[in-house]
Amino acid sequence: MKFGVVQFPGSNCDFDTFHVLRNVMKRETALLWHKDHDLQGVDCVVLPGGFSYGDYLRSGAIARFSPLMQEVKAFARAGGHVLGICNGFQILLELGLLPGAMIRNKNLKFLCQHVHIRIENEKTDFTRAGRKGQVLRIPIAHFDGNYYAAARVLKDIERHRQVVFRYCDAEGNITEEANVNGSLGNIAGIRNREGNVLGLMPHPERASEALLGSKDGRTIFASLILSLERRKPARRPVLRERARHD
């Protein structure tokens, strides 16, 4: 399978994600330029972390308008897999591919630290290599990672089992103390109802090599590989067609 990592101006985890997908997970990986309209036939689009367009407005608010994102939107609507990490998650929220919004961390400071997240739903294309309730140790690094959604929306995403990861302590308990950024329901990552789009605030690419202190992030990439290499990527030509008319 082939991954594509989108480069926005201001992305800064693009090379990190590229490095892990290509050199650690050993999969073909392309860098996708934000001004292009070409998804280069990838099977999974990854929106990396960073400060797209400086994030001087709301995080991710400008990136959603970039030319490539129109293709990504069409790709996702057609069932293509999209993974948004940190700023990538924020962009997916702005784009409307995922419900909810991000506000400032509860302590009003940027936070960079290892956190624990629990796999809430192991039956997704992003978690099938993990176990239900498995605790992953993965770092976060963000200012706006405090997940918010209106009560009705929150109820809806819980009902459809869209919460994929929650902040927890090392033992897997969902506690207020473990909820470092103040997210509603300790939410660290959600998927869309169809299950092909996932956003999470922690950075799995920073937890993919033992040398850097954790390999837990690989679970997410391995799950995607497991899910996508089982299938025939028959949808791509159709997608190009649609994108042109968008």
């Binding site: 101006p9 201001g10 800064n12 400060f51 367009y53 400086g54 940027f110 040398l211």
Partner: protein, 736 residues
């Protein structure tokens, strides 16, 4: 006509003015005077420090570039070089903490990538007044969030550094930023304008009125009116810099340019004249072509603006279009604003008129150097200055008090605001003895440590400076790296005061001696004088940034205890040295005595031996003894370790117990090893002439220290940890 008042405003003396008139053969106009003013300022011209800096060793077999360029360069093998430098942004950070610190980061990053290197790590050395004062807290919050705001956005990890607190920084905080870059040896670029007919391109942000005379501001004392200097501080745009970084590295990687220089202090003036001078050429510039943020700017303002995120590029005429295309890809303009010419003059025009016509050599190289008078203080501090100190009643209480002292306490409150992991190279998180970064695609790793204890340098600048070098090296050795190169940031008071000049001389002498002893070259650095506010000078604060190489990252050693039952070994000797210690400062409220002695030969033997023992795989953890002495070091090993394992140690020295527990005698390291390796470790140490004593075992839930069997202190690790962990955040809790 230039009068005395105008000269004063420009920080130039009448003698210096006379020199300028002689050099250009006529009276300068105001714009030209402005150019000389910034280029001959202390900040750019190093006029008080140059004669002394020559004493520092700058040669070494790995040195590709020593002082004089934007940053130093060392060869690390495999076709790669490291590029590094430290710089101060003290004055701006006091006036406007957030932007001052942010642009400090932006400036040093440009120094690194202008040489063709991708910045891979930032470290900061910060000095503030004590955090119980709300004003100091507000400065600190601003500085930390400024560093975070810039570094996090541009995607260069802030991987470590140090934070000290002392009332001498109440009105003059120090913000020293270090940056390390990595480049291919065959793709280094220099700030040279070569080849007549080559085009001069302006890239990056537009020029505004911000930061005019920033360099001159940094070359004078502050009074009460500093608030008015706020407009002198520049405003940073990390997003713009990120685009600039990527675009510059791309044109360099493609070999499209001849030379490149960032516009830092003294902006367009400095970059044009320096590039021309280094290329042995002249330069013509048309200011009308310079992108401007506001209307009606005068040539004086355009030339002296210190607007951030701007670079100057020299490229062959046939490559200009290709360069512009790459900048356009990154949404940046790259207009041609001038040309390289023969003749060694900078000729700058504005609205069709030549407004500047001066020899570049005079501006760049002929700034006068002063051997300013220096005078040792009437009474030099000595060990005898310490009054008889009563022994504390409860050593456990003192221990907890030291752990909670802001200088020693955990700095997570600071570094978790920094993205210290982006670029996925950070092998050791902040808090270890040194920052450790892997080099992708190689077994090698780079280690960096910043160090400088100004209590020591205040009491004895020479010894203090030696200790700073020794300790930074010791930190590197503690993670298993071999020190290879030095950059320094010398923060001092007003050099026109003979006592300050004496401190400076002494510190440079100490540094030179130590760097020679360790065989490590100084490849560059920065001098920040005039750290005086309302007539008070800061403690002399030389900060050393030392880089080390580890050949095999798998052999890196971290400070935390690895398991219960390991042998705890103390390398070095305990002596009764309490002068300048954090202990007497916190407990006895004294900044007095002589700092601990520094025997460079002994230190070198210690470091060589430890590297050898690590190479042989004998060492499981290593941590250097610094502020707070032995007990604090043991506590930190426990805090960093797995499961917060404690330790039980028994010392046989006949010393005052407080000196034994909290004294800061140098050249000491605490290591742990498997009991099976203890014999071999001690034997090798003895053979290398390094004092080493097995002092106890790891294990249990307490930190317990005995002297000849008598228990001096027993504190649960968890209790000690809370004292250390909570101290800094408690200052910043919202008070209701």
């Amino acid at each position: 006509m230039i009068d005395k008042k105008t000269l004063d405003q420009h920080g130039l003396t009448e003698d210096e003015y006379g020199l300028i008139v002689g050099l250009i053969g006529r009276e300068p106009n105001l714009t030209e005077l402005g150019i000389f003013s910034v280029m001959w300022s202390e900040h750019c011209g190093y006029k008080s420090s140059r004669v002394h800096l020559k004493k520092l060793p700058t040669e070494g077999k790995h040195v590709v570039q020593g002082p004089g360029e934007n940053a130093g360069i060392l060869d690390i093998g495999d076709g790669q070089v490291i590029v590094f430098k430290i710089e101060s942004h003290n004055h701006p950070s006091f006036i406007e903490p957030y932007q001052g610190a942010a642009t400090g980061v932006g400036g040093i990053l440009r120094d690194i990538f202008t040489m063709g290197a991708r910045p891979i790590a930032v470290l900061d050395s910060l000095r503030f007044g004590p955090p119980d004062d709300p004003k100091n807290r507000s400065v600190m919050e601003g500085v930390v969030s400024g560093i975070a705001g810039y570094g996090n956005s541009i995607g260069v990890p802030t991987v470590g550094g140090e934070v000290y607190f002392n009332p001498c920084y109440d009105l003059n905080p120090l913000v020293n930023v270090f940056c390390l870059g990595l480049a291919d040896k065959d793709k280094i670029f220099y700030a040279k304008a070569e080849g007549a007919g080559n085009k001069v391109l302006y890239v990056g942000a537009k020029t505004g009125r911000d930061g005019i005379h920033g360099a001159t501001m940094a070359s004078a004392e502050f009074g009460k009116e500093t608030e008015h200097k706020r407009p002198n501080v520049q405003v940073g745009d990390p997003f713009k810099e990120k685009l600039l970084l990527e675009a510059c590295l791309e044109v360099m990687d493609r070999g499209l340019i001849v030379g490149i220089q960032d516009m830092g202090a003294a902006g367009l003036t400095c970059s044009t004249t320096e590039m021309a001078d280094k290329g042995g050429m002249g330069i013509v510039v048309d200011l009308d072509k310079v992108p401007q943020r506001e209307a009606g700017m005068t040539p004086y303002e355009i030339l002296l603006s210190e607007s951030q995120e701007r670079m100057l590029i020299v490229a062959a005429p046939e490559k200009v279009a290709a360069v512009q295309e790459i900048f356009a890809k990154w949404d940046l303009d790259a207009p041609v604003i001038g040309e390289v010419v023969e003749g060694g003059r900078a000729r700058i025009s504005f609205k069709g008129e030549v407004v500047v016509d001066i020899p570049v050599d005079a501006v760049v190289n002929l700034c006068p150097a002063y051997n300013r008078p220096s005078r040792a203080p009437a009474v030099l501090p000595s060990p005898a200055d310490l009054p008889p100190l009563p022994l504390p009643g409860d050593y456990g209480d003192v221990f907890l008090k030291l752990l909670a002292s802001p200088t020693i306490a955990d700095k997570e409150w600071v570094f978790r605001q920094y993205d210290h992991m982006v670029q996925v190279n950070t092998a050791f998180l902040p808090g270890a003895d040194a920052a450790l970064l892997r080099i992708k695609g190689s077994k090698k790793a780079l280690a960096v440590s910043l160090d400088g204890n100004s209590l020591y340098t205040r009491l004895d600048p020479k010894t203090g400076a030696k200790i700073a070098v020794a300790e930074a090296c010791r930190n590197l050795v503690c993670v298993g790296a071999r020190p290879v190169g030095v950059t320094n940031c010398l923060n001092f008071g007003n050099p026109e005061k003979p006592e300050v000049m004496w401190q400076f001389e002494q510190a440079v002498d100490g540094m030179a001696e130590a760097c020679r002893a360790f065989g490590i070259p100084v490849t560059g650095g920065n001098v920040s004088f005039y750290n005086d506010t309302e007539g008070l000078s800061i403690h002399p604060t030389p900060v050393l940034g030392i880089v080390g190489i580890l050949d095999d990252i798998r052999k890196a050693v971290s400070p935390g205890f690895k398991a219960a039952g390991d042998a705890v070994v103390l390398l070095g000797e305990n002596m009764e040295e309490l002068g300048g210690s954090e202990y007497i400062r916190i407990v006895h409220n004294l900044e007095a005595g002589a700092p601990p002695a520094m025997d460079l030969e002994r230190e070198k033997r210690l470091q060589e031996f430890l590297l050898e023992a690590m190479g042989a795989g004998l060492v499981r953890s290593a941590h250097d003894l610094a502020e707070g002495g032995l007990t604090v070091a043991l506590a930190e090993c426990a805090f960093h370790g797995a499961r917060k394992t404690g330790c039980e140690v028994d010392l046989t020295d006949t010393l005052r117990p407080d000196a034994l527990l909290f004294g800061e005698t140098q050249s000491r390291i605490v290591i742990t090893c498997r009991p099976a390796n203890l014999g071999r470790f001690l034997k090798t140490a003895a053979a290398r002439g390094v004092p080493a004593k097995s002092i106890g075992r790891t294990g249990g839930r307490d930190i317990a220290v005995r002297q000849k069997g008598r228990e001096l202190l027993r504190v649960p690790v968890e209790k000690a940890y809370r004292a250390w962990k909570d101290a800094l955040p408690n200052f910043f809790k919202v008070r209701t």
